[in-house]
Symmetry: C2
Subunit: 320 residues, 2 copies
């Protein structure tokens, strides 16, 4: 499908250098082809595939970046253990008709690494709570790499999963505040058939941990029922119900369960408008996050827990 | 000369809104016209004109932004007193064949102002010394607005005066670190016939202060002679000579005289390579800056004090 410049059909062009990527994409744009962009850290699962499909449905050329960004990992975090699977990822990208995979070495993104780059982008307010408290500097690292990737790729649209709800809010704000000429699209959170939110980090769970981790989804579901069927409108009680379910699994250590406004991430007392219920928990030394959004108005409550892959399908997810 | 979309010949199109500017420039780029950009705070002098001419010489369409950026002024600084002259500026822009003047209201750049924007761009290291010490937050304000203006304008090239040497270093670094697809060009510092560096703030000097302010240039010249003719290679002695000259004028209060590496702005002991000699001084309540660069190698020293307008000419400067 892509032929500017030509590359073997069905296999994405893999580019490691900023200058080469820019030249390739400038040439594509000069032929009026639009670029949809999916920034990732690799180790693709159905969530990533759903982003690629959304991009492919709306653009001539899909660019996927594959970069485990050291700037967004704290010194005690799992940078070294973060799953990497370039060959598997390229096969997935090929199957999803991705045109270009941008896989820069770390020095290409941060010359002089491990010295930190002098220029950083920071988002105040939105990054104080939720994962921002536990991961100081994380969202500045995200904001910096995303700004840079947007500069390099120059996409019309960029696709992010709603599983990283705080990241999505940060990126939306970043794009608006800096007037970046890119549309940000949030795609549904994708779950395994048993409810566990898809995450590259799930690969690092043992079978017992993997089983225990489903309690996160059960906690959210209990909260969803309380609001949608029980009519609960008190944020504190919702929070406690979700948190209580998560404490029933010995292998799972709750880090936070919060109820906030979906756009500003400000803590809520009363459930109204677009509400984000966000959870982080540790299972062994793997940190998992999950969330749901609830739209609440006079008519009632509509819960969005994302979509689940059909257990029998060959990997198709319901995200489109 | 510009005709996409048409506007009265000789008068720049004045645009106040980001969306309108973007649509106009997208249309121009779609016709393969390149955009040269001159970001300014208005109150144009020959320095600004030299930037516009440099841009006009290299691009089909010149965009000048005219925005007194509140983010780069501290609470006790001269935001309210900063000179403003829209009509005069438009006449200058017309004379310099500028295609578009982007003059956004403050709320267009910072929705919710005076609340600060949540997203900011910061440059570490380069902004600690020189004006950064006296003006905390100043360069973050510069970096944030420049990133935003680059996003909105999407220029191929942006032109900055070397008078703001630290700003130029910051912008170069910003563009490199964030991979912004724009070339940064530094244009020669422009001086009045008596040597005073051109500055919009010169308008706020009384005649006696204006006369006294020429001591800044005399200080730099004394330093230049010491190095170029006296063979001085000790940064401390150079610094003291420059500073001593500036203390001879009662109306002028030296803020700093520093000798640093031109690219990293790191303080120097020995003069070698590209050296920046930068000065800041207060004359009454007007803060003025000035500088020169000296390239030093085994062959000797080449001083760049900028260019002076010819005293008899109708405003042409030697910057091209």
């Amino acid at each position: 499908m892509d032929h500017v410049p030509p590359h073997p059909a069905g296999r994405p062009l893999v580019i490691e250098r900023v200058a080469e990527l820019r030249a390739h994409l400038d040439a594509a744009r000069a032929q009026a082809r639009t670029v949809g962009f999916v920034p990732t850290m690799g180790a693709f699962h159905e969530g990533h595939r759903s982003l690629m499909r959304a991009a492919r449905g709306q653009h001539d050329l899909v660019v996927v970046s594959l970069f485990v960004n050291p700037l967004q990992f704290g010194p005690t975090e799992d940078l070294a253990r973060y799953p990497r699977d370039l060959e598997g990822d390229l096969a997935v990208a090929a199957a999803e008709d991705v045109g270009v995979v941008f896989a820069p070495p770390v020095e290409e993104m941060y010359p002089g690494f491990p010295a930190p780059p002098l220029t950083t982008v920071a988002i105040a307010g939105l990054t104080d709570g939720l994962c921002g408290s536990a991961r100081p500097g994380h969202f500045d690292g995200v904001a910096t790499v995303v700004t840079k990737l947007f500069s390099v790729v120059g996409p019309s649209t960029a696709y992010f999963g709603k599983k990283d709800a705080q990241q999505l809010a940060v990126v939306r704000r970043l794009a608006a505040d800096l007037c970046l000429p890119v549309k940000i699209v949030g795609c549904p959170l994708v779950r395994e058939a048993d409810g566990l939110a898809m995450s590259s980090r799930n690969r690092n769970l043992s079978p017992a941990q993997r089983e225990a981790a489903t309690v996160i989804h059960r906690g959210l579901r209990a909260g969803a029922e309380l609001v949608a069927e029980g009519g609960e409108r008190d944020a504190g009680r919702l929070r406690r119900v979700v948190a209580n379910v998560l404490t029933t699994e010995e292998l799972v250590r709750l880090e936070y369960a919060e109820v906030v406004a979906a756009d500003t991430l400000a803590p809520l007392d009363v459930l109204d408008g677009d509400v984000l219920v966000a959870v982080a928990a540790r299972v062994g030394d793997v940190r998992l996050i999950d969330n749901m959004t609830i739209h609440i108005d006079a008519e009632g409550a509509v819960v969005d827990l994302g979509v689940a892959v059909a257990p029998t399908e060959e990997g198709l997810c319901a995200a489109r």
